[in-house]
């Protein structure tokens, strides 16, 4: 069977949901004839027509607002942000209108807002952001960050079917670098469930998105030294799989929290608090974080390389923690 890339998996997921459910439609900038800046919607205009694949003006807030309106009428809009960085322009509609709607007056807003996030392609401060925490800190939203083609497809389908607003951050570095064979049947990946990417006994690395691969790389390296990492891919950040995190930490007794997002207020802090509250007595060493530093994402390759967490960082921290 052919291998499916991460980006193609997203495309397939949306496509299948559109075939199955006529309430599903896509709106965003250049999603129509152009098929989206990263071709996630390629071919959809021809198949579904211009009232289900809607090219919009450059109006991120308006796009999300319109998605909310359609969702309130029973539709299932999938709004594309051309880069996840531009979701900042729709922050108010997402956090105030969509997130709080059900709570305020019982009206669910089943929208998906998706877009390419993450660095590694020299996109600079406005084409590399990891904006997940702004939404993770907003009750009423769900936030997912798939790392594999399987999850990319399974989570976009779950997101579209979800009765609540889901923010779906795809990692642009993975778009064409990650591929795998996908089952041909209709599958979803449930929102809120983590996956163990490597079973290990010495310490746990909790991570998500593109960092999963960095962790796997480090694990290979550390294996040679007899340090055995368990790697947990969260897949969803809100809600997140607390039990999976705690189970793994209770087993390995040491933990590294890893993300590409910046440090202060990043997801690792939340995890550290949870672990400390609920698995304190299992800890045999300090909880360690590996994250990007607290700066914008710089553009020049040496700077960006410095910015992004690397396998060597994990190797170094894991050695320290192992020796603790």
């Amino acid at each position: 069977m052919a291998l499916t890339t991460y980006v193609e998996a997203i495309r397939q997921g949306i496509w299948e949901e559109m075939e199955k459910d006529e309430r599903v439609f896509v709106l965003g900038e250049d999603v129509g004839i152009y098929g989206g800046a990263f071709k996630v919607t390629a071919g959809m205009l021809e198949r579904f027509g211009e009232w289900r694949i809607i090219d919009t003006p450059i109006s991120e807030s308006g796009i999300v607002g319109a998605a909310i309106g359609a969702a309130l009428m029973g539709m299932r809009p999938v709004a594309e942000m051309q880069f996840a960085d531009f979701i900042s322009c729709a922050f108010d509609q997402i956090t105030n209108f969509a997130a709080k709607c059900r709570y305020r007056w019982g009206a669910g807003v089943p929208i998906v807002v998706r877009g390419p996030s993450g660095g590694g392609v020299h996109g600079g401060p406005f084409h590399s952001q990891n904006p997940e925490m702004y939404y993770v800190h907003t009750p009423g939203l769900k936030v997912v960050c798939p790392a594999t083609a399987y999850d990319a497809k399974g989570l976009i389908k779950a997101a579209i079917r979800d009765p609540d607003p889901v923010i779906y951050f795809e990692h642009k570095f993975l778009y064409r670098r990650v591929k795998e064979e996908l089952p041909s049947d209709d599958f979803v990946v449930p929102i809120g469930k983590a996956a163990i990417r490597r079973t290990g006994s010495d310490m746990t690395v909790v991570t998500y998105g593109a960092m999963v691969y960095i962790a796997l790389e480090a694990a290979k390296e550390l294996e040679k030294e007899g340090i055995d990492l368990e790697i947990l891919d969260l897949r969803s950040l809100l809600p997140f799989d607390k039990e999976a995190v705690l189970d793994s930490v209770r087993k390995t007794n040491k933990v590294i929290l890893l993300h590409e997002d910046t440090r202060i207020g990043g997801f690792a802090g939340e995890l550290a608090a949870i672990i400390s509250e609920e698995a304190f007595e299992y800890l045999d060493g300090p909880i360690r974080r590996i994250t990007a530093p607290d700066t914008p994402v710089p553009y020049s390759p040496p700077l960006e390389e410095f910015f992004l967490p690397k396998a060597s960082d994990i190797v170094r921290v894991a050695r320290e923690l192992y020796a603790y």
């Binding site: 439609f25 009232w51 289900r52 809607i54 919009t56 003006p57 109006s59 807030s61 308006g62 796009i63 999300v64 607002g65 319109a66 998605a67 909310i68 309106g69 359609a70 969702a71 309130l72 009428m73 029973g74 539709m75 809009p77 108010d92 509609q93 105030n96 209108f97 709080k100 709607c101 059900r102 709570y103 305020r104 007056w105 019982g106 009206a107 669910g108 009750p139 009423g140 769900k142 009765p163 609540d164």
Partner: protein, 342 residues
């Protein structure tokens, strides 16, 4: 820009077709809903609030009643309304019970939002009423999206979306109107231009004279209406609704009116020149409409008294019930953040 009004002094009659007068039944309904709005908000702002029975802030539409009532009176039940914070009439016409509204203001479990939200932040999907968020202008792209869903599905429904003059300065207003116009979706945008945004007069908000002047920037028709003239409002709204329903896209209706109170119950509007209140008091939409109906033989002084008495009773009863309604259970705080299944 021409103004739609039955007051010939302000009227450029050639600009719009002659005003169509609704049926007698509709005329009397209009009167009822305007008077009900006036009395209900009077009780909320001037009685219950001062008695400490209202929780949180209060914003009323005193003097602006003709706008929500005149534009909503002829909607179909499957049409959708996105009211702003001074459009009580919309809720009443769409059938939200007085008790539910009062319980909302008193933060009871039986309120429209079960105590989660305050005052005008009410909605009910079963009545096609979309709850306002405080962020002014946010409802404009939402209305565009509602219209979009109707167009996509080939429905002949329409959306009425309300906002104030101040809200038109928000970026979301711009994005929403623009998208609605590009997509030609069935939305009627109704601006309550009451000349002030809180303490800020129009000339500090915009460098144009009329909100309707902005319509040209989006390629949609704009119309100025005497917002204190319910016949003019309903006439313009009816035409715009018909336009939208028959697939000709959105319209922007600017209703010129005045906020006959402070911005909220705690604001004495000291910044408003008293002459302005006097000027607009003379143009009170209810008095004016009562005169019209009397002249037309559709009401009399005693009929008006009876109507007022009936309204008073309806509200008295609702207040009594709402006051006895329970507050929500504290743990309800945790409910309904997400779908909780059946």
């Amino acid at each position: 820009m021409k103004v739609n009004s039955t007051n010939s002094q302000t009227l450029a009659r050639d600009a719009v077709p002659p005003i169509t007068i609704p049926t007698d039944k509709t005329l009397l309904d209009m009167l009822y809903y305007m008077k009900l709005t006036r009395e209900l908000e009077f009780r909320i702002e001037r009685k219950l609030y001062r008695q400490g029975k209202i929780v949180g802030g209060v914003y009323v539409g005193r003097g602006q009643e003709a706008i929500a009532v005149g534009s909503c009176i002829d909607l179909r039940a499957d049409d959708v309304v996105c009211p702003s914070h001074r459009d009580m009439g919309a809720f009443l016409i769409r059938g939200m019970p007085l008790r539910t509204i009062l319980a909302q203001y008193m933060a009871r479990k039986t309120g429209a939002t079960r105590g989660k939200e305050g005052n005008m932040h009410m909605g009910d999907l079963s009545k096609n009423l979309i709850a306002f968020v405080s962020m002014l202008g946010d409802n404009v792209p939402v209305a565009a999206g509602i219209g979009l869903s109707m167009k996509m599905r080939g429905q002949d429904r329409v959306v009425l979306c309300f906002f104030g003059d101040g809200a038109t300065s928000r970026g979301d207003w711009h994005e929403g109107i623009n998208m609605a116009s590009v997509w030609k979706v069935p939305v009627v945008f109704v601006c309550n231009n009451n000349q002030y945004a809180y303490s800020t007069p129009l000339e500090r908000q915009m460098a144009v004279e009329n909100i309707a002047d902005r319509a040209e920037a989006y390629g949609l028709p704009g119309e100025i209406v005497d917002g204190n003239d319910i016949l003019a409002v309903s006439d313009s709204a009816t035409r715009a609704i018909e336009r939208a329903r028959s697939g000709h896209g959105p319209t922007l209706i600017e209703c010129k009116t005045f906020r006959m109170t402070g911005h909220s119950a705690h604001d004495d509007a000291g910044y408003v020149p008293p002459e302005l209140f006097e000027y607009w008091e003379e143009r009170d939409p209810i008095n004016r409409f009562e005169r019209f109906l009397t002249e037309r033989g559709l009401t009399t002084t005693s009929a008006l008294d009876q109507l007022q008495t009936r309204i008073n009773h309806e509200i008295d009863d609702a207040i009594q019930l709402a006051e006895k309604d329970p507050f929500p259970d504290p743990e309800d705080c945790l409910k309904d953040v997400y779908d909780e299944g059946e």
